[in-house]
Assembly symmetry: C2
Homo-oligomer: 462 residues x 2
C-alpha cells in the first residue's frame, strides 16, 4: 500500500481560497472521516472539504488532480467494507452539506436530489405526496453513497435495488468534466448505460453529486407479519415458495434464533427465541389480506407457527425498526466489539443449503454468530463479532468470512449482495468474475488515469 | 462513410477452415442480412457466418481482427434503427443457430440461453414451469438482440426492460477475451456493472453469446380490458392516474383512432375508430377484478366508455396479437411503404402534452400517421410511412421525426425509449446527453481500438 504523502501547502491554500472555512484539517474531523462501520483499521484523510455544489466539487477535483492528491467521497460514513477509509491519504469530499431535494416530480414519480440527501430526509420531504422511496439499507445513508455502493435492503425483493431505482446521475469525472448520465424519462435506449456504470463504482470512477431516483406510490394498505419456524430451512423454504407462487411480497426477512435474542435484548421485545420470518405486504386492503393468507398457508406447510399479522402502522414501524437495529443489537452481544458483516448472495435454490452449511460452520467453531437477511433475494448477513486488538480473533473472523464467500461462490453466488467491494471484498472479486475484473481495471484506468479517485477501492490498478 | 473494402481471400480461407459450410458469400444470404425493419438503405455484408458456440465466435473475432474486418452481430433482423446494416462491409455473425436453452432454473426464476434463442421459443420451452419471460418487443426477436438494444415492450411498465431482466451475459470482446459479466444471484454489488454496460451497446463493445435472464411467476389470473376515449389526453391521463394510484398494471397501451383503423383492417376486428386503451392485469382472481374495477373508475372519470374486460385466454391473446401486429397493420395503410418507427419517451407528466402536440403536427401536415405506445412508461411510437424512392417523401418523414425528437428532448425526454440508437438516432444523442457522449466514445475506443465491432453504430469514433 502506498504511504499517504503529506499535503503540500499549495493544495491547502488553493482549497481554502475556494472554500473558505469549508475545509478542515482538525484532527477530530479527519478521524471522524477516517472510519466506517467495517472492522478495518481507521485511516484518516489529511483534510476534509464540504462542497455545496457540483461546480465546487469539480473545482476541488481540478485542484487535487493538479497536485496528485487522492479524493475520497463521503456521505454518512455508513459503509461496511472500508469504502471511505483514506488508505492513501488525500482529501475527503464530505457531501453532507449538499443536502437539498432539488425537485420532486409527483406526476413523474421521481425526485432529483443532491448526493448528500439521506433516504429518511427524502421520505420526510415527500410524505405529503403519497409517494415514497423504498430502498432502505438499515442505516440512514445518503443517496449518493447508496448509489455508489449499489445499496439495497429489505424492500428490494419487490422494488429493486439502487440499480433499478436510479434514473440519472450527475457525476464529476477525474478530469473535471461534469456529465449527466441520462434524461429523466423512465426508459431509454440512448447509448451506453453510464448511469449503471457509476451505480456501484464506489467513487472510483468519479464523484456523484446529484441523483434522480424513482419514487413509488404508497399503497392503500400495508401489513406486517411475523412467523416462527422450527428450523432455518423451513423459514427459507417458505419465502422461496411464496416468491415462486408470484405473491408480490414487499419484504421477507429471515432472522435466526441468535439474532432474535439480540433484538429482544436491544429492543426490549419478547419474540420467542427461534428462527423467524418478518414479512410486509403492500396493496389494497383486500390484497394485503389475501397475500397474508396465502403466505400463512405456505408457512404452515413448512411447520411455521404463531403467524401474526397487523396493519397498524405503529406495530409495523416497531417491527421494522427492530429489524433495522439488528446490526447494532448484534454488536451488543459482546459490548465493545467491532464486526465483520458478511454479505453473500446466492441463487434462491441454493439459499437453504448455504445457510444450513453456514450454521454448521458457526456450530463447529462454537461461535455466537447471528444470521439474518433478505432471503427473498438470496442475500443474507452474519455479524461476526471480533476484538480488533486481538489478532487471533480478527483472523478467526476473517477465516469464517472466507469460508462463507467460498461456499457462496461454489453455488454461483456473489461475495457481496449489497455492501460493495471496498477494501474488504477485493480478494474475492477475481475468483468471482475472472477476466471480467481485468476489464473493470481497464475501465478504471480509462476514467482515472492518475488513480486519484478513491484509490485502492474496488480493485487495485498499481 | 468509409467504403466497404473487399474481403481478402485469406480471411475467407481461415473462416472456411474454422466453420466449413457455415459461412456463406451467397448474394441472397448476404442481402437478407443487410436489411432490417428500418427505412434506411440496405447494406449487405461480404459474408455471413453461423457460429454454434461462444468459442467459435471468439475464433471468428480473432480472424477478423487480425485482418481488420468489421463484425456485425445479427439475431432475427428485427432492429428498427439500422443496427444490423453492414455499412462498412465485413462479416455478419448470424447467431440464430446458437439457439439452445442451456438451463432453466425454476427454483431460481432464471434461465440461461444462447444469444440466438427467441423470446417466443424461450416461453414455449418454459411453459410447463409456470414461469414466463415478460419482455415482448412485438417482433419475435432473439434474446441476444434484445439485450444488445435494451429492448422492452408492452409489459415493461410492470416487469421492467431488458436492463432489469438480464442477470448476466457472456460476451466475446474485440481482443478475443471471453468474459462472463456476473454470477447468477439476483443481486450483486461486486464491482462495475458490466452487464448493464453491454445491455444496450448494440454489438459495438463486444458480441453477446449467452444471456441469463430473470423469469417471473405466471400469475393465477390475467385479464385484459379495452376502453374508448373521446381524446388522446383522456386516455393518457387515465394511465398516468392509475400508475400514480399504485395499481400494478401489467400492460397499458394507447392506440389512436388511425391505429385502430389500421388494426381493424389488418385483424378484421371492429373496434370503434376512436382513441383506445388496451390493459392487462396480473394477480389473483380477486386481485385482477379489483384492479380492473379501480382502473374502470379512473377511466370513467376521464370520459372513458365501453369498458370491457375479459379473463378468457383466447380473447386476451387475440387482443395482444392485434397490438403486436400494429406495426405491420400500419404499413398496410399504404401498401408498399416502408416506415420510420419513432420512439420518443418523456416523463409521464409531459406525455399528454407531447402526444397532443404530435397529433397537431400530424394534422398540420395532413399526414396519416398512427400514434400508439407504452404510455405507462411515457414511451410512444408513430409509424411514419414513406416511399423510399421518393426523396421528398423521405425528407418529410425525417423532418417529422426530427421535430418529434426535439419536442421530447425539450421535455426532458429521450430520443429512444426502446429501439436503440443504431444509425438513425446518432444525430440526436449529443443533444440529449452532451458530454456524456464523449465518455461513451472513450469507452468504445477502450473496448474496440480497431473500430471493428459493428462500426458506425451508436456513435462515430472516426
Amino acid at each position: 500500500m502506498n504511504k499517504p504523502r503529506e499535503l503540500n501547502a499549495s493544495v491547502l491554500n488553493e482549497l481554502v481560497a475556494l472554500l473558505g472555512d469549508r475545509i478542515s484539517t482538525n484532527q477530530g474531523v479527519r478521524d471522524h472521516h477516517g472510519k466506517d462501520e467495517s472492522s478495518l483499521p481507521f485511516a484518516s484523510p489529511q483534510a476534509v472539504v464540504f462542497p455545496l455544489s457540483t461546480e465546487e466539487v469539480r473545482d476541488i477535483v481540478n485542484i487535487c488532480r493538479t497536485h496528485g492528491v487522492p479524493l475520497i467521497p463521503f456521505g454518512a460514513g455508513t459503509s461496511v467494507e472500508g469504502q471511505v477509509l483514506a488508505v492513501r491519504g488525500g482529501i475527503t469530499v464530505d457531501l453532507s452539506r449538499m443536502n437539498k431535494v432539488l425537485a420532486v416530480h409527483e406526476a413523474d414519480l421521481d425526485a432529483v436530489v443532491q448526493a448528500g440527501v439521506t433516504r429518511k430526509q427524502l421520505n420526510e420531504e415527500i410524505r405529503h405526496t403519497g409517494l415514497f422511496f423504498p430502498i432502505d439499507p438499515g442505516a440512514d445513508a445518503t443517496l449518493g453513497g447508496m448509489s455508489a455502493t449499489r445499496a439495497s435492503g429489505t424492500n428490494a425483493v419487490r422494488y429493486g435495488t439502487m440499480r433499478e431505482n436510479v434514473i440519472a446521475l450527475t457525476v464529476v469525472l477525474a478530469d473535471g468534466r461534469i456529465i449527466r448520465t441520462a434524461r429523466r424519462s423512465r426508459k431509454s435506449s440512448a447509448g451506453y448505460d453510464l448511469t449503471r456504470l457509476f451505480v456501484g463504482s464506489e467513487g472510483t470512477l468519479g464523484i456523484i453529486t446529484e441523483v434522480c431516483v424513482r419514487l413509488h406510490a404508497m399503497q392503500e394498505a400495508m401489513s406486517a407479519a411475523v412467523c416462527c419456524f422450527p428450523s432455518m430451512a423451513d423459514a427459507v423454504n417458505t419465502v422461496i415458495q411464496s416468491i415462486q407462487s408470484g405473491i408480490p411480497i414487499a419484504r421477507s426477512e429471515f432472522l435466526c434464533e441468535t439474532t432474535i435474542r439480540a433484538i429482544n435484548a436491544y429492543s426490549k421485545s419478547i419474540h420467542p427465541e427461534v428462527p423467524h420470518l418478518f414479512f410486509e405486504f403492500h396493496g389494497t386492503e383486500a390484497g394485503v389480506k389475501e397475500q397474508a393468507e396465502l403466505v400463512q398457508a405456505i408457512a404452515t406447510g413448512n411447520h411455521g407457527s404463531g403467524f401474526q399479522w397487523t396493519s397498524r402502522a405503529e406495530e409495523r414501524n416497531r417491527l421494522w425498526q427492530a429489524r433495522h437495529d439488528t446490526y447494532f443489537a448484534c454488536l451488543q452481544l459482546r459490548p465493545g466489539s467491532r464486526a465483520i458483516a458478511t454479505d453473500v448472495c446466492v441463487p434462491l435454490s441454493r439459499l437453504t443449503e448455504c445457510i444450513v452449511a453456514t450454521q454448521a460452520d458457526v456450530a463447529a467453531h462454537s461461535a455466537t454468530i447471528p444470521i439474518f437477511g433478505h432471503v427473498g433475494d438470496g442475500n443474507f448477513h452474519c455479524v461476526v463479532l471480533l476484538d480488533p486488538n486481538d489478532p487471533q480473533d480478527v483472523e478467526r473472523a476473517r477465516a469464517f468470512n472466507r469460508r462463507l464467500v467460498e461456499r457462496a461462490l461454489a453455488m454461483e453466488g456473489t461475495c457481496t449482495g449489497e455492501h460493495g467491494v471496498g477494501l474488504g471484498k477485493q480478494q474475492y472479486l477475481q475468483a468471482e468474475l475472472g477476466e471480467a475484473v481485468d476489464v473493470m481495471r481497464d475501465i478504471k484506468r480509462l476514467f482515472d488515469p492518475g488513480n486519484l479517485m478513491n484509490p485502492g477501492k474496488v480493485l487495485r490498478v498499481d
